[in-house]
């Protein structure tokens, strides 16, 4: 019942809409639990420069015995000035500021475009927790800001800061540096760095640069991450040390033929004193000019100690007459070490879908064997409907 006012607010926006108001309802039922999930989504422009968006969900799980549950994922009103000088939003949304980690908040955000190609962004609010939207909660808050200088058409260099308190206690204090730019038509790069200020140390660093020549795109990337610095400082596990992991590699995407894409992702990683390889090869072939029917395959090798495994995957989507399609995905994972979890973990899904104008329906069967289940078969039913209201 706590959702009723929010659904009311979302629906009340309908008569005010000048531009199309979009509504969408998605229902998913599975035999796994058995469980059902209903998602209602609405968005539209209230007037020029002002828009609103809301997503609410309701779920029922017969096995949990808790009855129906539901919550709001997004409910936000956004507004911007005619020239784009200022842009703000209030409500429940995901705030993402430069290199700082994205955070789901109930609050507000404001972005200003300043002279000399400078931008300033601030946000503040209460971090969202699954059961804490309307129920009583302790005084948690998060606030942050970022100042950036735009480079060229699409790039910028920025510095951000955020602080989070859980029940009044300092949980996160982070400094982020980010940079990205399209150097020219063929080259672009991106980099981010997050520094933990509570337990001083690097939380995350990433660099990526790519070059595009003809049908080939080559990307080089490297990343460093310290898991202990990603935990809230209020967690006991944030005090047991700092063993970072690193990964570096290259991704090559090649349009080998007009309908054939080949992707190779070759990387090496280090975790503590353990080294491993991460190799992925992927191919995708469109069977018609518009890509309505596609077949693909993937090979993957993830090496290094107890977590090593090899996998193969086959995918296909075949368009059929009368707006029907068949989609299938098969995966086979072979861990290097059995350890009593089974030597092969197969997974497969076969779906029949139908899509016409604003309706979409799908029926699927999912089968798998895993460390958790010796064998398991589930059926899934999905129904979607979209409306556009002028």
């Amino acid at each position: 019942m706590k959702l009723a006012p929010l659904v009311g607010i979302a629906l009340a926006a309908a008569p005010v809409a000048a531009d199309p108001l979009r509504l969408r309802a998605d229902a998913l039922a599975t035999t796994a639990s058995p469980a059902g999930l209903l998602v209602l989504e609405a968005d539209g422009a209230l007037r020029s420069g002002m828009s609103a968006e809301a997503v609410v969900w309701m779920a029922g799980d017969r096995t949990s015995g808790e009855g129906a549950s539901g919550d709001v994922l997004v409910i936000a009103v956004q507004a911007q000035t005619k020239t784009g000088f200022a842009r703000g939003k209030v409500g429940r949304f995901v705030s993402s500021l430069g290199a700082l980690r994205p955070v789901h908040v109930d609050g507000g955000a404001l972005r200003l475009r300043l002279p000399k190609r400078f931008d300033a962004e601030v946000f503040a609010g209460m971090p969202v927790s699954p059961a804490g939207f309307i129920d009583g909660r302790s005084w948690d808050w998060i606030a942050g800001g970022r100042v950036a200088r735009r480079l060229g058409d699409y790039g910028s260099v920025g510095v951000g800061y955020a602080q989070r308190r859980d029940a009044g206690r300092l949980a996160t204090e982070e400094l982020g540096l980010d940079a990205g730019a399209a150097i020219d038509k063929r080259h672009d790069l991106g980099a981010r760095l997050a520094y933990d200020l509570v337990t001083p140390g690097l939380a995350e660093v990433g660099v990526s640069a790519s070059r595009r020549t003809g049908g080939v795109r080559t990307e080089l990337y490297a990343r460093h991450r310290s898991p202990s610095h990603l935990l809230p400082a209020t967690s006991l596990f944030s005090v047991i040390g700092d063993v970072p992991s690193q990964r570096a590699g290259t991704v090559i995407t090649w349009r080998a033929a007009p309908r054939l894409d080949l992707i190779a992702d070759l990387a090496a990683r280090r975790v503590d004193d353990e080294y491993g390889e991460e190799l992925v090869g992927r191919a995708r072939l469109r069977l018609d000019p518009r890509g309505a029917s596609v077949v693909g395959g993937e090979l993957r090798r993830s090496g290094g100690g107890l977590s090593a495994w090899t996998g193969v995957r086959a995918l296909a989507r075949i368009a059929l007459p009368h707006a029907f399609a068949i989609a299938t995905e098969l995966e086979l994972v072979i861990p290097d070490e059995d350890r009593g979890r089974g030597g092969v973990w197969p997974w497969g899904l076969v779906a029949t879908t139908w899509e016409r104008s604003d309706w979409q329906a799908a029926v699927a069967v999912e089968a798998s064997a895993s460390p958790e289940y010796r064998h398991r078969i589930d059926a899934l039913f999905q129904l979607s409907r979209r409306w556009s209201v002028k």
């Binding site: 998605d26 997004v74 990526s208 005090v239 975790v271």
Partner: protein
């Protein structure tokens, strides 16, 4: 033998050429440049374009026959002299874009089509202007990220950028690195629900994102991820914590009896013991503390404190040189450091 293999390969290549979409572009490319050099004006073929309107303003056979008196074929001219898919792309562009030729020809272009269709001068491969050409005059729309001046509904039509920020390679993994400095650009296409689907804390995944019809759609948790998630997490420590709160795992782990107040344990032998060789848990916890916190967070931390509190048999869990700005009276320090103990 070599000849036979070679011939077989040639036959196979020819057979595959159709499937791979290999065609001879030169034969189907319309020679715009040659027509311009011959003095044919744009509006002679694209009749009515100066008046604007909803049509595509493509030449029909009759307009071609005003000059080409002897067609070599009875088929429609555009059926062969336009690359496959080009007209469909034009129809799609017309559906998704707000554009009026009449307004542009009367305005800055002053009747000069080549002001925007610069491809005519370069050759004939790309006739439709790229966005950078639009921004030569509409620079303010770019700086203000006002896409709705040209794009009817960017969030819905599914357009992808073609050059930088192209969503190829391993975009799910790399998007954070690329989006860090271009957040406002991302917002021009992606609604909040798109970000909240993964980064939101109140629902595991949106039904709309469970694309049963499209197994090729990008996702962080593809196919049999639930079976291999422990391998993935171990190979990339901290990866889960970049999106998920550590306590997000415990409900599922408790239900599956791999954590909480159950006898089942996911830990191997020698996890906790009296000698260092039997104490695997310390090393593993340092590698990925978030994995421990996913089950032993909150009240579960007391399990650790039993041995690792000041004076306890487990000794200090801190590494040499460890420091924090937290006072001892704050969480989590006070769990192990009672008032007065250091």
């Amino acid at each position: 033998m070599k000849r036979a293999v070679g011939a077989l390969l040639c036959v196979a290549l020819v057979a595959c050429a159709g499937i791979l979409g290999l065609t001879r572009p030169a034969s189907t490319q319309f020679p715009h440049r040659a027509h311009v050099i011959a003095g044919v004006t744009c509006t002679k073929c694209h009749q009515g374009v100066e008046a604007g309107g909803p049509g595509l303003h493509l030449p029909d056979d009759a307009s071609c026959l005003t000059c080409h008196a002897k067609p070599h074929d009875t088929r429609s001219c555009l059926g062969c002299h336009v690359p496959p898919g080009r007209i469909e792309a034009l129809v799609e562009a017309k559906q998704h874009l707000i554009f009026d030729h009449a307004k542009h020809l009367k305005g800055e272009a002053q009747g000069n089509c080549m002001r925007c269709h610069v491809g005519v001068a370069d050759g004939d491969a790309r006739m439709r202007p790229v966005m950078a050409t639009c921004f030569k005059c509409h620079g303010e729309a770019q700086s203000a990220r006002k896409c709705d001046g040209c794009h009817k509904d960017l969030a819905e039509d599914g357009s992808l950028p073609q050059s930088h920020l192209a969503h190829d390679g391993n975009w799910v993994r790399d998007h954070g690195m690329r989006a860090a400095s271009s957040g406002d650009l991302c917002e021009t296409c992606h609604k909040q629900s798109f970000c909240a689907d993964c980064h939101g804390q109140t629902v595991p995944t949106l039904t709309s994102r469970r694309r049963l019809a499209d197994p090729f759609s990008a996702s962080a948790h593809r196919a049999g991820f639930s079976a291999r998630h422990s391998l993935e997490a171990r190979a990339d420590p901290g990866a889960c914590a970049t999106c998920h709160q550590p306590d997000k795992c415990i409900a599922c782990h408790t239900a599956k009896q791999v954590a909480g107040d159950t006898r089942a344990t996911p830990h191997p032998r020698g996890w906790v013991g009296l000698t260092s060789a039997e104490n695997l848990h310390g090393r593993e916890a340092r590698r990925d503390p978030a994995a421990c916190a996913s089950c032993h967070g909150g009240a579960g931390e007391k399990l650790c404190v039993q041995c690792h509190a000041v004076g306890g048999v487990g000794g200090t869990p801190h590494p040499p040189g460890w420091s924090s700005r937290q006072p001892l009276s704050a969480m989590p320090c006070r769990l192990c450091h009672p008032i007065g103990a250091r």
